[in-house]
Symmetry: D2
Subunit: 354 residues, 4 copies
């Protein structure tokens, strides 16, 4: 990690980047409110830190031995002067003192559905509208989302989502499942989602990152925290730091009947907040797969310190094409958001002590 002096010039920064290239490494240049920091991408052991430390404009040059240095709390503090970064999407701030709620249908079905849910979500207090168009599915025989119907149908669905969001003042988010979808989706959505099943797909991560839009990055159900953050680093290495991490459950442990779809790891929330400068939110819908558990697990996620929630909501969960059993109604969504806001205040008031 190479910390530049506050008055370092453009040329001095370029000089350091060149030095890194000489040793076969790329450079992450993070210009913050506070100062510029340069993070080497590649094997740092090849770098002569002694030599770099005395280059003009350099304040400090040290080796950082973690697979996720470019998103580490120390790195963020160096260039931004703050332990946690705020991610802004329109007027919405993610990672601040108030929790952010993302809501919407699992899958986009038609324009009327989206408008009706967007309106309800807005009234319930949600901030961002979700809706799946390219659906990752475990079986080729299941409905794969409107995106499977070809480019035209995909684009139409993206327009519906975009329009519904604009109509009710809600920025939008939808998932990108494969490289060929990156350009199209990035044209329409405000936040680009990379789903749990694609967490390890480093080529996709790189390409989505390059779009420069905020990314919601979900933890794979078999990934340890270290691995999750190491793959988030692939995004950061493209110069995109607007990464919203998302916990959505791990493989169940133990034999016998599974009472929930996945095993929600809520301790990952405070752990990750201590490791990185990125915000982390929780998806209680996919993790539990059970509508009757969403209220309690939403409250628990906020109590654990999450910066927000992503909840599947529908005016009529029974008739949803995908994941109906885990969607809440719009009334339930309001109850959840109300309770979460109260809990957030209780937890936040003690934050400084801990």
């Amino acid at each position: 990690m190479i910390v530049m002096k506050t008055d370092a010039t453009k040329e001095q920064i370029s000089r350091v980047v060149k030095e890194l290239k000489k040793y076969g490494l790329r450079a992450d240049v993070s210009k913050g409110a506070y100062r510029t920091v340069i993070g080497p991408i590649g094997d740092e052991r090849k770098l002569p830190f002694d030599r770099i430390a005395v280059l003009p404009g350099v304040k400090e040059a040290t080796m950082v031995d973690t697979p996720y240095k470019l998103i580490s709390r120390e790195y963020g503090k160096s260039f931004e002067g703050a332990e946690h970064l705020l991610i802004k999407v329109g007027d919405i701030v993610i990672g601040g003192d108030e929790p952010v709620f993302i809501a919407g249908p699992c899958a986009v079905e038609n324009k009327a559905q989206l408008l009706r849910i967007a309106e309800g979500a807005k009234k319930a207090g949600a901030h961002i509208l979700r809706g799946g168009i390219f659906k990752p599915r475990s079986s080729v025989h299941s409905f794969q989302g409107l995106g499977a119907g070809g480019r035209e149908q995909a684009e139409e669905a993206l327009e519906w989502l975009h329009d519904a969001g604009r109509e009710f003042g809600l920025p939008t988010i939808t998932e990108i499942r494969g490289e060929s979808q990156v350009d199209l989706v990035a044209e329409y959505a405000d936040i680009l989602q990379i789903g749990a099943r694609n967490m390890y797909d480093q080529d996709l991560l790189t390409q989505v990152a390059r779009k420069g839009k905020p990314i919601l990055f979900k933890r794979h159900f078999g990934a340890g925290i270290e691995e999750f953050l190491s793959f988030a680093e692939y995004i950061s290495a493209e110069g995109n730091k607007d990464i919203i991490l998302c916990e959505r459950g791990l493989l169940p442990v133990g034999k016998g009947r599974s009472y929930t779809r996945y095993l929600l790891d809520l301790a990952s929330v405070p752990v990750i907040q201590k490791e990185t400068f990125l915000p982390i939110i929780v998806d209680p819908s996919h993790s539990t797969g059970r509508r009757d558990l969403i209220f309690n697990m939403s409250c628990a996620a906020i109590a654990a310190g999450a910066s927000g929630l992503m909840i599947e909501a529908h005016y009529n969960p029974e008739e949803a094409l995908v994941d109906g059993p885990q969607s809440v109604t719009l009334d339930e969504l309001k109850d959840i958001i109300d309770a979460c806001k109260k809990i957030s205040k209780v937890v936040m008031s003690k934050k400084d002590k801990l």
Copy 2:
């Protein structure tokens, strides 16, 4: 499950029990505020339910196909008329509308230590005093608790715990690790704990159950919920329904560094409340193994609906003989209890809706 009429006589109940024995099954006779229910223990498929249903005093006789019928919500409702049972220990009620806090040192060290912690815990708002005397340890080379010093030393430690509890009006709890400790511990402690590592030890479960005292029963870190409840059924089958279930974390999932000792499964809390009439509490100390996570995970557990918490607390965590890194100070304990009470109110106010 054989539900007796409200006016069923002793003789009619005995008659049913005899009938069960004839087919090689034992009987669990649960007399509640509402009525008496008889649960067959063994292979129900051998029973002639048609014949039993017409015995005098019998209201209903049906086969229940789950490995944990004697602790199931339906069973509890049948004899008690309520979906959840209250467990009373002195003046303390576990499973009611207010969360119960168990606190104390991981291991009992000496009388002064216990008195000091008991006083602090009481002031912080705790209701029950914990302290380990027979410590289960992964290594034979580690300190095994004062109980390892022989019967006399064990009894002395049990007296200290008992006395410290009485001095500050706190019922006490301590762990039983082996069959030879059952009689001794049951003489002194108000609640008998069976630890996670002993969850599968059915002979120990049976013997502890027979003491008739409330039991805190911890989930093993490799046990699915179905398995956990199936082993709680061993306790219930001895006629002891005062079982406080406790979630304390599962095996970590994923590769790489472990940031917490275990993986806390908070969704198990509402799930188990829907499956059984027993209360469930959470142990944030052993599950995380990290003092800096206890506040958030305690709040999250209560938000998930837990009936209480078991927290390791010490006036000076650094000098604790066992598990210092995960103990909170008595001041921190107070902060945790205060926040949890507020969160409990938020969550409880919505309870009926869900």
Copy 3:
């Protein structure tokens, strides 16, 4: 599953395919030595099987309720008349009575390295040459293979691999990690590998499948067998049945030090052979991560019934750029292959009995 009569005409087959489309389903048309079978792709519950069964040329039309019907043993038997399909790559047959050995370096480093290893592998008895060019890595800071150096360098490395294979009569295999690599790699390699980390990447699977070349498909370390086969079905649904499945280890279970990189699930070998008509091989190198375990685990895999092994081998494991600690020498490779052949004979001789 729609089984056609042996004398069904092209037109009759087209008629059935059209019928499926009418209900929104795609069709997998498998013409075998035995007869033609048509597998519906999509939600079969929408199909009027009664009506389809009486269409001209149709022998039988039944619903198959498994997420992996197009690779199921029953399906294969219907069109090929055999329980297991043979996959041919040049003169090599995978899935027959003799085990097939794939060997080579983890990562391609230079032409000389490849030639030397290819020669040694051939002498040791290997049949196919492996070598990684696009390396999936957990850290963006690690060496990502020569493929990371741009298209020209990638193509050069692919040529080396191809040439080394041709020189010693070994078909070649290398991994495709992202969609943008599909066309290039398919030009050079005889078998296209999809790695464990990409198992869930359905868009990549679909595109690789369309190249029509044999595919080596690795199980993700967090995937159950059902999920593994459900994703293999994505490949099969593109009409490509030349799928070599590969077990390479699961997430470790239990706490404490990990003695191997992954947990090799050898029982998956006979299980999968009973579920599908596809051959399954084992990768003892990535699963154990330890050179000193390769001999025993290779023997065990063949004893479990595997159709082959993929082993990392190097003339000098210590100097390998990637995964040196788990590569065997070329002498060790010979010992392994010799022992495995003997064990295969012992196991095969009893095959009919079981």
Copy 4:
């Protein structure tokens, strides 16, 4: 670890033991063919190794930093002069060059059953007779073995097992599930089994160890290798080194249908052989739970280097009271043993090279 000189006297040994006690540690005194070694039990960091090293008769005194030092390969080598210890039960040697086969019914049912199976097992080539009397079961409603019928019935069943073994020259093994069964079982059985569910039950381990008989110690399905060996150390710490370790499968990994009961970890076999001087065998019956997999997984276990197998066998698996679906017939048992012997020879012939 304190290695004594070959001519060290009894007094010199006692002197060292006393020194250890002074610092609050117990001593494991292992007198081998080669020399005497004293292993400290407890926290070695408290010991003044410098001082101990110069006591009369002491050759070497070093700290060993592993939770399983008393069963480590180094420790065994020090007192026995060999890397692996042989465990003798009658004429049978476990841990030598030839695999040992333990076979018999899951549960003892009656004397005729045992005699018939013992005769068949002997003819098939088995060396030791197994039969469960105290059965650990996940449900209190399942058959718990004849041991549940009271002491008299338990003793009768133990006699049957003993007699059947004597009649056909087979030493016997049966499981001890609780502390109250230790004395009784130790009177009759030649090898005492501690089952997977009791692996963590340190009080039981200690009491069984004190009987001085060989112990078969099974790995819990949630235990890492380090934990498994750490609990074996509890047995060793009682001076009993005749411990046969047994791998019987771990918790399944991944979602969806489970095709086997547990996940057999065969790599644990060579790993454990490198870590300890104890032999390790494999139980293919409980791990797979499927009769149609036993042949392949038995062969695989021996190929992995196991010192033997424990296989459930019955003349009529369909009518077995417990675990019928996983029992092989006596004919199948013969096929398995024959194939395993051949495979063992192939693997053993390369042993020195690796």
